[in-house]
């Protein structure tokens, strides 16, 4: 088992590193991740939502649908724990 686990993680790591070589260097302001959508958020979130904390603006509004389901995830977890652990009252 240990050998398999080691092998799995080594392969996964190798593949991931293989992919990394394509990336823009770390902390490059011109990398695609930092330019395409995100600069739109940085430029427009304050004018469009009047929220200075850009993260909150994106979290609550631009990607509010995600956040809604995030709340549902938490709720699910709570319910699941109750379901799993509490014995029925009968």
């Amino acid at each position: 088992m240990k050998a398999i686990a080691l092998l799995c993680s080594l392969i996964t790591g190798a593949v991931l590193l293989y992919g990394v070589q394509d990336f823009a260097p770390w902390s490059d302001p011109a990398s695609p991740a930092s330019t395409h959508v995100s600069s739109h958020y940085i430029r427009n979130s304050v004018p469009e939502t009047h929220v200075p904390n850009i993260v909150t603006a994106v979290l609550g509004d631009y990607r509010g649908y995600d956040t809604m389901f995030e709340t549902v995830v938490i709720f699910c977890a709570g319910m699941a724990v109750i379901c799993v652990l509490r014995r029925s009252k009968s």
Binding site: V15, F23, D61, Y62, Y65, D66, V73, C76, I82, K89
Partner: protein
């Protein structure tokens, strides 16, 4: 493109809101459980049928949540395929719920409302998965369905918690892999919207990062759908889960994940990249699917318990769909998508039948199935229809999807996959006829040993499953035939969403 409507989100929100309300009111009285479970599902089913009619008439549309233009906001895509999936999910959930209600009452007295809270959220999560056109949103919804599933499975008895734990570990690995894949894509493209990503990917050179992203996203989904070598968690999890929960998981979970794989391939990575620039990978996956089908079918053959056998068949069917889709031609893809629908309905039929049998015999091991035809004729008849569908006997719907898959295999020249499909049909025939033989042609017990001539006047008392379990079963069995004969319109709707160049 028709003008957007909010209907699809009402369809999704109905079970979600009902889940919360049920959690509030259910603790007060058990009376609330049934209306609050069935009500929203009826609403969703009706709504999704309306939506499908509308989409087929006016074409699909894209919906921007929060009125933010994509790729800045989250986009939802309502096209014929997703509308059909909505119909499938809500319809199956509704049908399964009729049978689930008495089961939950029996297995989890006192915590029905908790069970159905999770159950409804799971349904909402599945619907959300079908609609979303945002790669990260997909991850969140995937986790919703997973967490509810973990919880529901762990509610089972005996070894169920252990099965659930294994599923948590495997499921997390799957979800994390998917998230890694999306992370790589995000770093490459800077976007999370599927269509936007696809547009940017087209302009990118095909480097290692893209390949890694693709590999991780797809492998992650494979883990979630239990594609053969990664299937270890599924048989225990689904066969030990509470019966009511199994009724929902088995038909829907793997199928929705396959739908997601199709979405990710068609809408994010594009078939040009996935299939045509890497023919070796493409045929490799088809071969892997063929091996998966053969292995899973063989494993199923070794089971001595009806529900466990069905779970292995489920894994084999995953191989059908993955392989069929990766055949990368119009017929194969049509077959794979058609099989999503057909397999969901036939799995539901078989699991409903298994549940009905279990409600009378208590156990589903083969020894208990002897002579069941005498006591449960309707159940066994429906079971037989479902079995024929899995085997692929015309005119049940299973035949027609297999037809398309086989045809895709012929066109692609994938003889191994063709052979695997035929092999699996034969193995299914052996398995199911073993059961049919037990149920119809073996007398239970010693009374009629030698099996001869107890005349027409002798009848064991008929002891059918209660009506709430029987009615959905009969409806599903009938649906198998109706869907089979209605394959034509379904296929033409599926063809609307396939890429044009196929």
């Amino acid at each position: 493109m028709s003008s957007p409507t909010n209907l699809h989100l009402y369809i999704l929100a109905a079970p979600l809101v009902a889940a919360f309300v049920l959690n509030l009111l259910g603790r007060l009285s058990r009376r609330w459980v049934m209306p609050l479970t069935l009500g929203p599902l009826v609403f969703s089913t009706a709504g999704s049928l309306m939506l499908l009619a509308r989409v087929l008439k006016e074409g699909g549309f894209s919906y921007t949540v929060g009125n933010w233009t994509p790729p800045y906001g989250i986009e939802l895509l309502v096209d014929p395929l997703s509308a059909m999936m909505l119909v499938l999910i809500s319809g199956i959930a509704l049908t399964a719920t009729f049978s689930a209600l008495p089961w939950v009452e029996r297995e989890h007295p006192g915590s029905e409302h908790l069970f159905f809270t999770l159950y409804l959220i799971l349904i909402a999560g599945l619907m959300g998965l079908v609609l979303t056109a945002d790669a990260f949103n997909l991850y969140v919804l995937l986790e919703i369905t997973s967490i509810t599933t973990y919880g529901l499975i762990a509610m089972g008895k005996g070894r169920a918690p252990l099965a659930s734990f294994n599923y948590i570990i495997m499921g997390s690995i799957g979800a994390c892999f998917y998230l890694l894949g999306i992370g790589y894509l995000y770093i490459l493209t800077g976007s999370l919207n599927m269509a936007d990503m696809a547009a940017i990917i087209k302009t990118l050179p095909q480097g290692p990062a893209l390949a890694t992203a693709f590999a991780f996203a797809i492998v992650g989904l494979w883990v979630k759908m239990a594609f053969f070598p990664l299937h270890g968690w599924l048989p225990n999890a689904y066969s030990l889960a509470p019966t009511a929960a199994g009724l929902l998981f088995a038909p829907l979970m793997t199928k929705v994940t396959i739908y997601l794989m199709i979405r990710v391939i068609l809408n994010v990575f594009t078939p040009e990249y996935v299939f045509y620039s890497h023919p070796l990978v493409q045929s490799g996956v088809v071969w892997a699917a063929a091996i998966a089908i053969v292995c899973a079918s063989s494993l199923a053959l070794g089971q001595r318990d009806l529900r466990r056998m069905l779970t292995y068949i489920l894994i084999a069917e995953v191989g059908y769909m993955v392989g069929g889709f990766w055949l990368a031609n119009s017929q194969g893809m049509t077959g794979a998508i058609l099989h999503i629908f057909n397999d969901a309905v036939m799995t539901l039929c078989l699991f409903l039948a298994a549940a009905a049998i279990a409600s009378r015999t208590g156990s589903l091991s083969f020894d208990n199935l002897k002579g069941l035809y005498r006591t449960m004729p309707v159940t066994m008849a429906a079971f037989t229809v479902g079995a024929f569908s899995i085997i692929g006997v015309p005119p049940t719907c299973g035949f027609f999807s297999k037809w398309y898959l086989l045809q895709g295999a012929v066109q692609a020249g994938q003889w191994g996959f063709l052979a695997a499909l035929l092999f699996s049909s034969l193995v299914n025939a052996i398995m199911f006829f073993r059961i049919i033989e037990l149920a119809y042609f073996t007398d239970d017990g010693e009374a009629h040993h030698g099996g001869h001539h107890h005349g027409d006047d002798h009848h064991a008392p008929v002891a059918e499953a209660p009506l709430p379990m029987l009615a959905p079963l009969v409806v599903t069995a009938a649906a198998l035939l109706v869907i089979g004969l209605g394959t034509g319109p379904i296929v033409s709707a599926i063809r609307l969403t396939l890429p044009k160049f196929l």
